[in-house]
C-alpha cells in the first residue's frame, strides 16, 4: 500500500466526484423537492454522453453538443412525466420504463455500438481525465466542473424562488394543498422531471468527455451514486444551517466525498468488482440510520410532554 499511489489518484477522484456532483444536484430536484424516486436517470446518465460525443464526432461544436445533450435529457424527463401523470403509472415504474426504452435509443444514437471514443487530442473537450493535474488551471477538469456547478446552482436557486419554481416545491411538499391553490400538479411534476433529467444529461455529457468515450452502460446504478451523494451531503453538512443553494451544494460535495472514499477503499485492496456492492451498502446504511435512530434511540419524553403553543 503505497501512499503516493493514493495521493496521485486523488485529483482524478475529485474531478469525477464533481461531475457526479452535477448529477446529484439534478437528482436532488426529483428526490428531495418533488419527493419521488426517478429511475429515468440510469438511462439519462448514458444518453447525455451519447448525444454529446456523437454530435462532436459529426463536427458540431462543444456548445451545441452540450445544449443538445441537455435537451435530450429534458425530453427523457418529459416521457417519464407523461407516463406518470397522464397515464397514471407509478413514478418508479414510469422511470424504469423510460430507462429501459432509453437503452435502445442510446444504442441507436451511438450507431449500434456499445461505446464511442472521442480523443481530447483531436477534439476541443471541456474536461478530460488527462487534464486533472499539470495543466493550466482553466483547463483543469475540477476547475471547469466547479464553474458548471456554480452556474447550475445559481440558476436553480433563482428558478425555485420564482412563482413557477415555488409551485413545483409546493407540489412535492403537499400535492393536495397545491391543487387547492390552483396548481396543476401534473404539469409541475413533469416540469421537475424535465429539469432534473436535463441537468443529469449535462453531467453525463461531461462524464463522457472526461472518460474519453460514451458508453451505453455508463448510467447503470447512477441513481444509487446520486442518492449516496445526496445522503452523504446531508449527513456531513446537514448540521450546518443553510439555505436552498447550500443544500444543493452539499449534495455535490457529497459526491466528492463518495468518490474519495471509493478511491481509498480500492487503494486498500477492495476489488473494483465490488464497488457497486459497496455503493449499495453505503446507501442502504445511510437510509436506514434515521429510521433506526427514531425507533431505538428516541429519548422518552418527560411526563407532561413538551410545551407546544
Amino acid at each position: 500500500m503505497d501512499v503516493m499511489t493514493l495521493i496521485n489518484a486523488l485529483p482524478g477522484a475529485c474531478a469525477q466526484g464533481l461531475i457526479w456532483g452535477i448529477m446529484a444536484i439534478g437528482l436532488y430536484i426529483t428526490y428531495k423537492i418533488l419527493d419521488l424516486a426517478d429511475l429515468t436517470v440510469d438511462g439519462t446518465m448514458a444518453t447525455g454522453g451519447a448525444v454529446c460525443v456523437m454530435m462532436m464526432l459529426n463536427g458540431y461544436s462543444i456548445g451545441i453538443a452540450l445544449l443538445c445533450s441537455f435537451v435530450a435529457g429534458v425530453l427523457a424527463g418529459m416521457v417519464t412525466g407523461f407516463l406518470h401523470t397522464a397515464l397514471g403509472i407509478p413514478a418508479i415504474l414510469a422511470g424504469i420504463l423510460t430507462q429501459q426504452g432509453l437503452y435502445s435509443i442510446n444504442l441507436w444514437i451511438m450507431e449500434d455500438k456499445a461505446n464511442q471514443a472521442i480523443s481530447v487530442d483531436k477534439y476541443d473537450l471541456l474536461v478530460s481525465l488527462r487534464h486533472v493535474k499539470g495543466v493550466p488551471f482553466y483547463q483543469n477538469a475540477s476547475f471547469v466542473t466547479i464553474l458548471f456547478i456554480i452556474v447550475i446552482i445559481a440558476i436553480l436557486y433563482w428558478f425555485f424562488g420564482t412563482e413557477l419554481g415555488c409551485s413545483i416545491r409546493s407540489t412535492g411538499a403537499n400535492p393536495n394543498m397545491s391543487r387547492a391553490q390552483g396548481i396543476n400538479t401534473n404539469i409541475t411534476k413533469t416540469l421537475g422531471l424535465m429539469i432534473s433529467n436535463g441537468i443529469i444529461a449535462l453531467a453525463s455529457a461531461l462524464f463522457a468527455q472526461y472518460q474519453g468515450f460514451a458508453d451505453v452502460n455508463s448510467g447503470r446504478g447512477a441513481i444509487v451514486i446520486g442518492l449516496a451523494s445526496i445522503i452523504i451531503g446531508q449527513v456531513v453538512f446537514g448540521k450546518i444551517r443553510g439555505n436552498f443553494a447550500f443544500k444543493m451544494l452539499a449534495a455535490a460535495l457529497g459526491a466528492i466525498i463518495y468518490y474519495l472514499v471509493l478511491q481509498v477503499v480500492t487503494w486498500m485492496g477492495l476489488p473494483t468488482n465490488f464497488l457497486k456492492l459497496f455503493a449499495a451498502v453505503i446507501v442502504a446504511v445511510f437510509l436506514a440510520i434515521p429510521y433506526l435512530k427514531r425507533k431505538y434511540f428516541t429519548k422518552p419524553v418527560k411526563r407532561g410532554g413538551v410545551e407546544h403553543a
Binding site: 412563482e163 409546493s170 387547492a180 391553490q181
Partner: protein
Amino acid sequence: MLRINNIFKTFNPGTINEKTALRGLSLELAEGDFVTVIGGNGAGKSTLLNAVAGTWKVDEGSIFIDDADVTRLLEHQRAKYLGRVFQDPMTGTAANMQIQENLALAYRRGKFRGLRKGISHKEQEQYREQLKILELGLEDRMTAKVGLLSGGQRQALTLLMATLKKPKVLLLDEHTAALDPKTAAKVLDATDKIIGKNQLTTVMITHNMKDAIAHGNRLVMMYEGGIIFDVSGEEKKKLKVADLLLKFEQASGGGMMNDRMILS
C-alpha cells in the same frame, strides 16, 4: 352564488364496497350566505364539499359557481373560485415551506405562475398585516417553516390562505374538529371575523350542533346523501340543540344517533 342541481355520486360502483354518498342533492346559496352543514357519519357532508371542490367528478347533476358551470372542471381549475380549509391541519399547508411562502402560493390562486419572484417585498408587508388579524403572533415568524406550527396555528393560517384572495365560495370541512376545544373556539372566532369582514359565501361542515346554530345565517341537515332539513333567518336563530336532535331522530328512525352528536 353557488348552485348545486340534483347531484349523484356513487363510490366503488359494482363492487362489494359500493356506496352511494350523494342522492340527488340540490342546494342554492345566495351571495353572502353562511351555511352550516350537520349530519351523522356517512351522511355525505364531506362528499358534498369534495363535489364542489372537484376532487372527483359527480355522476349526475351540475354545479354552478357565480353562473359559471364548473361541473366538468378539474380540481385545480376550480381553485380560482374556491377557498378551502380541511379537517386535517396537515392538509392545508406545505410543512417544509415558510409561512410567507405558503401565503404567497395562496395569493396566486387562479393566476398564471411565471418567472416573476415567488414573493415580493410589497406582499410581505401585506401578509404581516393579514397575519395580525389571527392574533397568534405569526406576523413575527413569517420565515418560519409551517411544520413548526401547532395544529391550531396551521388551521388559522390555512383559513387566511383560503381567504387571502377573496373566494366566490369558502368551503370549511370540519376545520376545527381536530383541535382542542379552546383552540377550536379561537379558530372559529377568526373564521367569523374573516367571513364577516369580507362578506364571504360560506359552507361550513361541523359535528358540533351548538356551533352549527351559533354561526351563519342558514343551517342544513344531511342524511344519507340528501338534505332533510334546511332552515334560515329568524327560524334558525331560535333553534335549540334539542330541536335538531329530534329532527335527526325522526329522519333516522331513532336508531342512528351517534355519540359524537349527543355529546357535543
